[in-house]
Symmetry: C3
Subunit: 176 residues, 3 copies
């Protein structure tokens, strides 16, 4: 129930198009996180097949693929969501917002931690690709369509392919 | 019925892979626009939940997310379509073609008009992101993967991240 | 059965997150290729509607759209897959790996061969757009988010919008 309240508050804040309580259950972000909570639990108890089965079902329903192994903090919001891929060893902090088409993926075949770590308050714009075992610092912003292959320092904004720092952004902006 | 005829003519023109009449009903572009006509009607009459419910269903079926509030002109064609997101306050003119992965989205949390206005005959290439309350002028073309954050003048072609004008394109080209 | 064994071996190699045999049936790459084998057969026998019907069903289930006309070699692997679009006249060689969001598409309305030819051992990163009747040479790699509009020579790596050659990559790297 806490999760429900938290999400309701969050979506109300994040999405200006939100109109009524029941819409909550139409939000892919909400639906996929319910699934993920169960599949992550199953994953931790080594029911890998069942865990993956649930995450695939969630993907068919929402277009969002979160591997059961991914660890996700509080107030995580995925706007729209179609095409999002989140890898097995991804860590996501609190208050993170990502948009549709974002990948938090790997770049090689080695076992172990191979996906990004996203710290608190990060915003990742639509279709940005964040690849490899890198760290995205607190309050960082990643522009739409960026391809991020290196660490991003806290409070920085990066854009482009490959992603480079942008100088002159200070005000909080929602990069959809 | 007019809409059916219009779409049939349109798809026949746009897609060289189109082979027979009944294929029309397999086109996500056609299916999602039927849904959108209903959900937009419901939205205008303030049945917001039902409207959103239909648009979410359409998204699950087609991979295309059109907010019930979006206003769309005639002869609108979405090729392939998976991953398309069209925001609440988007206006789309006549004879517009967009490809899969395109976003017509917002960049901040303010209420009011926060999504793009697309004028007549615009073509938007695959995975292009068009963000904010900007205007894309008549006959403009946006290249695949571009991130457009500023107005685009009529008859111009823009490409890249962030999108810049391209000089030497004159002939009509379909930028998939 | 050969196809099943081939795919099992392939996915075991490609995906470090793969854990148990039955997971195979959860892989969109596997599911969509089963569908494609049938729809391609129907296409060759000119049952175009049925062929397209199957490919659309496969797309709803997996998020991967492969036109029934596309010709695909052995050991083809699509990682994650949501948002992939493969056009009618695409040829794909052996041992090719592509990631989610990749387009192998066309740039104009002419009939005939209008989609890319992908040679053996090519790797195409997430959300890369490969457009037009171009040839991607053996062992080439295409970076995430790249937009490729020209031929790529064998053994080269290209990145960016539009995609340009990258000098200093020699070791085999998996560009997710």
């Amino acid at each position: 129930m806490n999760f429900l309240k938290e999400q309701l508050k969050l979506i109300r804040k994040e999405d200006p198009a939100f109109k009524s309580f029941w819409e909550l259950f139409l939000y892919p972000s909400f639906v996929v996180q319910i699934y993920h909570k169960i599949s992550h639990f199953l994953y931790l108890h080594k029911h890998y097949f069942l865990a993956r089965f649930l995450s695939e079902r969630a993907k068919r329903k929402t277009g969002i693929e979160i591997h059961p192994g991914a660890r996700i903090g509080k107030n995580f919001f995925i706007d729209h969501g179609n095409g999002v891929v989140i890898g097995e060893t991804t860590f996501i902090g609190n208050n993170v917002t990502i948009f549709h088409g974002v990948t938090l993926g790997g770049v090689n075949d080695c076992k172990g931690k191979r996906h990004p770590t996203i710290r608190d308050n990060v915003i990742i714009g639509a279709h940005a690709q964040v690849l490899g075992n890198i760290i995205i610092g607190k309050n960082a912003k990643i522009g739409a369509g960026a391809v991020v292959l290196k660490n991003v320092s806290a409070n920085k904004t990066v854009v482009g392919i490959p992603a480079k720092e942008k100088n002159c952004i200070n005000k909080k902006k929602r990069v959809q």
